[in-house]
């Protein structure tokens, strides 16, 4: 049995899980499977959450075409979902993965930062903060099943998790590459990375806006494990089982002890951080950088 929780609906629908489980055993859920098709049909949600009540593990599949960009809408959906899962005592572990091909998440949606009013930019940034706060401070065991590229905000999302498993495909990359777009990762992105890969790796990584191939990411500790692409989700599930065997209360207090200083720093500077972002991003020179970057992306496609 598996409880399929669809964001935007107020109830959980329990369905037979055979289809899902057999699908899971092949690795990540393949969009052609019938159960997935049903879901796609049944909801406009960009998040599919499979919450297995027996194991206490929820798998959050991001499917915001084409590349799971973190728009204000999508961030809001993610935050609401996270809050519900967090409050659900039956949910002890969360696996985050992607239903989009080749990409985990392309990161913050540039369209939310380009040509928008300061108010809207501020609202957007507040949602980015909110997602980070919810994920980095989650009481659940969180595992990123990184089955595709994961630049910028996608990398941030991965780094907030307790454990990172990435597809061993050299076409994928991960990193905080904001600098390459002419923008600057804020201090809490930076601290999350320092906590993950240390000061020197972070310094070089952020100054150069580096994207790492999976093997490089493993070497510096940006991800914890590489597995063949079709085993990312099953490996995450296996790892989750180990983590959930740990005495829960002690694990949660320990996690909080490790992360609270970083979280507190944002909490006590939230408004200033928003102002900082808004005044930076609305600068003419930065808007120009973003426009150039978007044009470059368009040309790449064409």
């Amino acid at each position: 049995m598996s409880c399929v929780f669809r964001h935007g609906e107020t109830a959980c629908f329990c369905v037979f899980a055979e289809g899902l489980l057999s699908c899971s055993s092949h690795g990540r859920l393949c969009p052609s499977s019938s159960s997935i098709s049903q879901r796609n049909n049944s909801s406009s949600a960009k998040l599919i959450v499979d919450h297995d009540q027996t194991t206490g593990v929820a798998v959050m599949h991001m499917q915001s075409p084409p590349v799971n960009s973190l728009s204000l809408d999508f961030l809001t959906e993610i935050c609401i979902t996270l809050e519900k899962l967090e409050m659900d005592k039956g949910c002890r572990g969360l696996i985050i993965t992607s239903n989009q091909p080749k990409v985990f998440s392309a990161g913050l949606d540039i369209l939310e930062m380009y040509g928008k009013s300061p108010e809207r930019c501020g609202e957007f940034w507040k949602a980015v903060q909110e997602m980070w706060l919810k994920l980095y401070g989650s009481n659940m065991v969180t595992i990123a099943a990184i089955n595709g590229s994961s630049p910028a905000g996608g990398c941030l999302m991965s780094m907030t998790c307790d454990y990172r498993i990435m597809a061993d495909n050299p076409r994928y990359s991960i990193g905080l590459n904001e600098t390459m777009l002419g923008i600057v990762a804020p201090f809490w992105f930076k601290e999350t990375m320092v906590n993950t890969v240390g000061h020197r790796n972070t310094e070089m990584s952020l100054e150069l806006g580096l994207l790492y191939k999976p093997a490089e990411a493993l070497k510096i500790g940006l991800v914890d494990q590489l597995v063949p692409e079709d085993q990312v989700l099953s490996a995450a599930t296996q790892t989750m089982t180990k983590w959930l065997a740990i005495p829960e209360h002690a694990r949660q207090i320990t996690k909080s002890m490790m992360r609270k200083p970083t979280i507190d720093k944002l909490c006590s500077n939230r408004e200033a951080d928003i102002q900082n972002f808004v005044s930076f991003i609305t600068k003419e020179s930065i808007q120009k950088s973003l426009r150039m970057y978007m044009e470059m992306l368009k040309q790449k496609k064409a």
Copy 2:
């Protein structure tokens, strides 16, 4: 010549060291050797301290059967011994090792935390703090000769030293595994570990209560060197010679500069840390965890 200092006696007894030295050349002191037997006979102390006046190096052998658990009594003995050695200008280096087979120290004595009054728990915790403060802030060169398993408090003790040499025996392990017992390593355990293996290794290690095999411990930097089991003490002695050749005053100031921020944090929060420990450990749920853990240990033995 070697000065054998026995805790609890007010004087140092100088004896011919031939027996000891030949014993040392075989690695750690074996309990069946005659000089050790004499000591065992002569004192109820759980610590044998061989202080070689010519080299200025004291070797502190823990022998509190069966597994050098850190009880309040044993901690008090250790602290008094450390204080005496620290004030003895003839003692510049300290090697800590175990006379018990297969174990360096099993860590904090669970019996001191189970079914005890809050007052007693507080007294116990104060002694744990005291040991850490004395070791982490020692002016002596301190080397852990880890000739057996070293979980929890045993790992903490090792991490306070300037250098860690471990027996390359895959049956042994080392780590802060408190979480597995349902309890939480306090912030100064955490900071000692962060200072040793970095933030990310510490986070994963503490959340999962990981115990590392020697080879893994070496890889993440939890120990500095592996040697065959019968060479742990001789390797520690060799390393000590190198450390003692360093200009002493500069080395001490440097050590203090590296560790003072961490030490200061405990010093200015000592009472709160005790209260925190006492209120946590005396909780019914935690007491239950400890009971279950002890029953598991008993079943393992049987």
Copy 3:
């Protein structure tokens, strides 16, 4: 075309760069080349700065015989040069290298610390601080082309750069070995090293006054890249090209975010740090240590 900037002169002299460039292609500038001879003849300056206006890269060659010791005079020259380059909008990258054989820089000039008045010692230390502040906080991309040994202050100088390339010659070494001289690296040396190689490597390194062979330095991250000795400068130039392709403003803000906390700590404790140095270095025991060290150096030479 290359603009040769000679410190102490108020103008830049533009000369044909053929000689320089062909020389660069052989690796580091060799003192026997004619263009260098000309410079040596033309100025008493201990710094040769080749500022290529087309690339925006300045190469600062240290040539203070015999070993680029950082005397008060030399430090002052370096600081004035750095300030000029920093304010020159045409200069976006700085490569620091040595024109002396076998040594990058031998570090702080011991003669400035031995037998000098407290006032003079304070003046000297202020210049050391100044160099560090200018380099660690530079808006330019800074690359150390370490073509020789780089102990103590030479290592500090290297660590302030954004990237370190070292000659792969096992006769060379790098490290903060102050402790071996009986003196103590101040907190900002320490923090620069912690930011580069982490807490534990720094602790052991500083306590023992370790000098690392290039391969070891690479392993702990004290340098970023090893190349054959004759390719150090060309490798630095290639790396510089990559760094200069990064959006500049974002890179600068990011660099500042990473380093500002450490810089601020010195800035708000500068006077106390000077007093601390002066009272330490003028102690009789420390002066004796320095004298013994200098005598040891003399005996080595003889």
